[in-house]
Symmetry: C2
Subunit: 447 residues, 2 copies
């Protein structure tokens, strides 16, 4: 640990020499001197822990820095900050816990770790009078953690919308540009390295849920567990849906959504309910979020004082992630220099009465696409089911140019709870005129 | 001054009870308790200095808090932070200097003051072992100061583009939407309160230059004086230009532009040259900056590591500005609590060899609109002048539907230096076939 408060060099140990670890090493090689001149502190990479010393790496790291022993590194008194960049939640968790227990500040880019074990790790940091920095865990190069915790500290976060999964945004952008189906774009994205061989973490929305949960926790001051987040992925989106959405003036994006609901906000009840969910949604095509394309991420934060603010950048990749790790390293180094490790704690649990809205209570507008038999009475039977559940239809489109026994029917539906809508869907699916599985996508107007 | 390092309340004195001062007071009334729970420190408004106690104010402030004596407030040992919100550069300067000399941290929203006297004030803060916080001085609610200094600390800023004047953006947005002329929209904007009665600070680009200079200084580590910034306003933009730009696939925006030029960056010369300028430019219409409308501001920062990042929000107004002041207050309070006042100094002068590119060296593409006599040989005479100066034409458009003795001729011009282009313009203006003043607008491709 750093003893002299005005020491002008901090030594860091990187755990992980792969894509992100290599990126951080490379970035410090390139801009370390510039950072030192801005910061007044030189950040020096003393050791890099890797699984195999001899393996070839995306970025060359001198052999003299490499070691396989993370324990020795954590307990080395000459190493002041531990940087965990191996990913996963097993070894990474052991590393972070051991470092915090040793009283060392830890910087991590590990969203799964923070999402699953954040609450425990933050408590451990506090108990050991040190800190945990995790800017790189959400939205790559976008400084959303610092913005939420520091820049918007005077604001109640009324709404937060995030395009926080680059793989999904890439796939949806290409489906729209090329009029292609999900499976075809996914296969190509896998070939090009934009999607994993096992894509479910991304395309089923779990990665976005990790990030959305972290942002929601920070914004609302109570820890939100991933299992309390309503999550839908994008596998059910067809090229037909993208095409109809475009005709209707919308673009489909996978959104992480955090809403402080007005009715509940104003209630005098004991618990403040927050919607925390991840689902694809139709967005008005001219909205700035609808125009975030490809692998780019963006987070829109609406504060009760500041109004709408938006933060945009690359959400993943070696360099964007390294930029955020460097920002955390600067903070950790300054906090060591100033002996102010608890200046901005990893997490402040300030909302004792917070609760996440249950899935059934979630209220949105909907786009519903059905395959139906093209005969009289079809719409009447569907409309009757919706009417009985008190669900309003705002418009019905039976697109031209579709022939055959089954034709598409699109219904735009007014605000309805998820519970009612699921009930309606079950009944609609059973109608003999309805063929195949209905496609239900929410509509988000940013209101 | 604060003596106990763990004190849980800081008292602030507001200088100014007008629009911004009232906004800060109101925001603290609304969200002070929330901030305290996040921050662990209660921020209490102890005194508000106003010119006249009895005047009616946009936000009610209890009479017991009001005073006209800023000196007494600055020297009151019970007041820990001074917040300057009166604007202007005379009294505001005296207030800030006196407070810094008294060793008190100062928060200001005053861009003109920082732009003109920043260097002196930052030195004064340092000499008195205190700090000056100025997030609210640039781009209202957008946390661009913190982002540049802290979040992007590991990046060389290769490009920075800012839409930082809400009045100009509002006028240009309306000119485009309504096909209206500058003077008509300005008059209406004045009537609606979006433009000042004396609009030149805004529409001639000086306000944007203040902000761009502050951002350029932070990004490049040497202080840039407003008089070294090349500035053009928007008065010469006609509805015809907006119309032709749209036809050509562009939108016109007033941009603050900071470029670290590749040729100069790579040179081994003793001085790094930075382009710092404010001018209206044609932007590709699908670029995210082209879609920042109305009074909204946005700053695009391209870091050599992080790539393109963008920050968007309301650039002015009581509430957006208050949000940034609150963020600074939180930092100032934490720095008092942690005795870490120099943790992030107001300004780090780390680039000893920086210099601003001279106006003549400025190289861009151009849109040139001329009024010409519609007869053979006109284009040839203009093209000859440009060719002699080695200036290339990328396209020529003689729009249809314009009849009469004088018709518009649009030339899109390849990269040329400002010096060459001004020389060409002087010769072109003298041609008998050219009628009226040429309109020259730069083209910005974000490359």
């Amino acid at each position: 640990m750093l003893s002299a408060p005005m020491q002008q060099q901090v030594n860091i140990g990187l755990i992980g020499g792969g894509t992100v670890g290599g990126g951080v090493y490379k970035a410090l090689q390139a801009n370390g001197a510039l950072m030192a001149s801005r910061l007044g502190i030189k950040i020096s990479v003393t050791k890099v822990v890797v699984r195999e010393i001899k393996k070839s790496r995306p970025v060359h790291i001198p052999a003299a820095l490499l070691t396989t022993d993370f324990h020795a590194l954590i307990h080395d008194p000459e190493i002041h900050i531990i940087v965990e960049l191996i990913g996963g939640t097993t070894t990474a968790r052991s590393v972070v816990e051991a470092a915090l227990k040793a009283g060392k500040p830890v910087v991590t880019a590990n969203k799964a770790l923070i999402s699953k074990h954040g609450e425990t790790l933050f408590a451990l940091a506090k108990a050991n009078k040190t800190n945990l920095y995790y800017e790189a865990s959400v939205a790559g190069g976008i400084p959303i953690i610092k913005v939420l915790r520091e820049s918007l500290i005077g604001n109640r976060v009324v709404r937060l919308y995030g395009i926080v999964n680059g793989t999904c945004n890439y796939i949806l952008t290409r489906m729209k540009a090329e009029g292609a189906e999900f499976m075809d774009v996914l296969a190509d994205a896998q070939r090009l390295g934009y999607a994993e061989a096992e894509p479910s973490l991304d395309v089923d929305g779990h990665d976005a849920a990790h990030k959305t949960g972290i942002l929601a926790s920070l914004a609302h001051g109570f820890w939100i567990n991933p299992q309390d987040i309503y999550v839908e992925g994008i596998r059910h989106i067809g090229k037909l849906d993208i095409q109809f959405a475009t005709q209707l003036g919308y673009t489909i994006k996978l959104l992480g959504i955090v809403k402080c609901l007005p009715s509940l906000k104003k209630s005098k009840g004991p618990r403040q309910a927050i919607q925390v969910s991840v689902y694809p949604a139709l967005l008005p095509k001219d909205h700035v979020m609808a125009n975030v394309s490809g692998v780019y991420n963006a987070v829109l934060v609406r504060g009760d004082i500041v109004g709408d603010t938006l933060y945009y950048g690359r959400g993943a990749g070696q360099d964007a992630t390294a930029s955020s790790v460097l920002s955390d390293l600067a903070d950790a180094a300054l906090d060591l220099k100033c002996s102010s490790r608890d200046r901005v704690p990893a997490f402040v649990d300030h909302e004792k009465n917070g609760k996440v809205l249950s899935t059934g209570e979630l209220v949105t507008r909907y786009y519903l696409r059905l395959g139906v038999s093209d005969r009289p009475g079809t719409l009447a039977s569907i409309a009757t089911i919706l009417a009985r559940l008190n669900i309003g239809i705002s418009s019905v489109i039976q697109p031209e140019g579709h022939e055959g026994a089954t034709v598409p029917l699109i219904l735009m539906i007014h605000d309805a709870s998820n519970a009612s809508m699921q009930k309606a869907l079950k009944q609609i699916e059973k109608l003999p005129v309805v063929k195949g599985a209905p496609v239900l996508i929410r509509v988000e107007d940013f209101e």
